[in-house]
């Protein structure tokens, strides 16, 4: 709780220092941003937590809209239930950026996507299903809204934080359906470039 408070205070201080200097929105058409981080998640119906590597590439089509691609590489699942051996996912969507007068960039995002999922049974030495052991990976559709913010520095770097809800279901020929509904969080340092120079 103390750490969270410190982070919030720090972000507010950085944001306030930028807002002192200029009253103009920093984000604009032509920004390309990218980030990579470790993303913790919670499988909401399986009482399990997950860890993934999250990579993202985003391009601002206009001052208020960007298109983005996100990829999550599943590392591991923890918890009483260990439902999945693989749960990679990719998304292609867009973000709506709310208007501000500084370097702070809050947004709402929506993205269709797919999950590549594999049931864990085959890999658990305690469970031996013999022939019905399911060792195939399946592709399942996902829908994912997200909210978050970026805090841009003067150039090249920015801080970002995002909370993403993922809705989907692992359906396979062999095992019973499994909910993929999950909350994932991402936080870290990103990179940005201006591909289009702004008119002064």
């Amino acid at each position: 709780m103390k750490k969270l408070f410190l982070v919030v205070v720090m972000l507010s201080a950085v944001e306030a220092s930028f807002s002192q200097k200029e009253k103009k929105q920093f984000i604009h058409k032509g920004i390309l941003r990218a980030q990579a981080t470790i993303s913790p998640g919670m499988l909401l119906k399986e009482n399990a937590s997950t860890i993934s590597i999250h990579g993202n590439l985003e391009y601002y089509l206009a001052d208020n809209v960007s298109i983005r691609g996100d990829g999550f590489y599943f590392l591991q699942v923890n918890g009483i239930n260990h439902p999945l051996h693989i749960n990679h996912s990719v998304f292609a969507g867009a973000s709506y950026h709310f208007k501000t007068k500084n370097h702070f960039d809050p947004y709402f995002s929506f993205a269709p996507g797919i999950a590549i999922t594999q049931y864990t049974d085959c890999y658990d030495p305690q469970i031996t299903y013999g022939d019905i052991c399911n060792d195939k990976a399946y592709i399942n559709p996902l829908i994912s809204p997200a909210i978050g913010f970026n805090l841009y520095f003067q150039r090249v770097f920015h801080l970002f934080a995002e909370a993403r809800y993922i809705s989907g279901k692992h359906l396979s020929d062999d095992s019973t359906p499994l909910s993929l509904n999950e909350l994932r969080f991402s936080f870290g340092l990103g990179w940005n470039l201006n591909l289009i120079k702004q008119k002064k």
Partner: protein, 224 residues
């Protein structure tokens, strides 16, 4: 009778869309026609015969033929969980004609309703869960053709990006695959029977939410 009515309504809307679009085409050919958009979409499939709702993902491109007419070329991958007992997979590839009662322009803030009708090819695969241990049920597959019609709306968030919401009814013209969930008296549990029927009409409601980016003017028109 209900299905024949739906088919007639689909064809009627399709006719109105095409006729209306051609009537307008000469007026605005120089402005909106030739604009190409690329997009992604999420799909919810509802009200199918088996009563289960599916979820899908897909993509499309749109080529405008005028400010009153657009064409939408799409593909969808939809999976449906039928009562936890079987999995239905649908692959759609098709096209639609969009008719705008009011002029459509790709411009920030524009909200444009439209009528849509079109045609689609699809592959459906229904399998009972349990793999080789699934009893009295061979997986059923079919290839069919379909027609669809619906209503929708674009909202342009910027001069080069829109979100579109489209509920549409898709009517399949082919062999019907029916999945019945029933109480199995021997096992005392829910079970499912998957059957392929003869030629018939069977449909479902598709609700698409799509995100579309204006990419290029293929006609490469000079602004006047």
């Amino acid at each position: 009778m209900k299905n024949i009515f739906l088919l007639a309504a689909t064809l009627f809307l399709m006719f109105i869309g095409i006729e209306g679009a051609f009537a307008q085409e000469t007026q605005d050919l120089s402005k909106e026609s030739g604009k190409l958009q690329l997009g992604m979409r999420s799909t919810v499939s509802a009200f199918s015969d088996d009563g289960a709702n599916g979820m899908g993902v897909g993509g499309q491109f749109r080529l405008k033929l005028g400010s009153r007419m657009n064409t939408d070329w799409y593909s969808d991958y939809i999976t449906t969980d039928i009562g936890g007992l079987a999995k239905r997979t649908d692959y759609h590839i098709g096209w639609s004609v969009l008719y705008y009662p009011a002029n459509n322009e790709i411009k920030k803030g524009k909200l444009t309703p439209y009528i849509l009708a079109g045609h689609c090819f699809d592959w459906t695969d229904v399998k009972k869960n349990g793999g080789i241990y699934a009893t009295h049920n061979a997986p059923q597959k079919r290839f069919s053709s379909a027609v669809q019609c619906g209503l929708g709306v674009h909202y342009n968030l910027s001069d080069n990006f829109d979100m579109s919401l489209t509920p549409q009814y898709m009517l399949h013209l082919g062999k019907d695959i029916e999945a019945h969930v029933f109480d199995n008296e021997i096992t005392g549990q829910k079970d499912i029977l998957i059957e392929q029927k003869d030629l018939g009409l069977e449909g479902h409601l598709l609700i698409n939410l799509s995100l579309n980016v204006y990419v290029v003017d293929l006609w490469n028109k000079k602004s006047k």
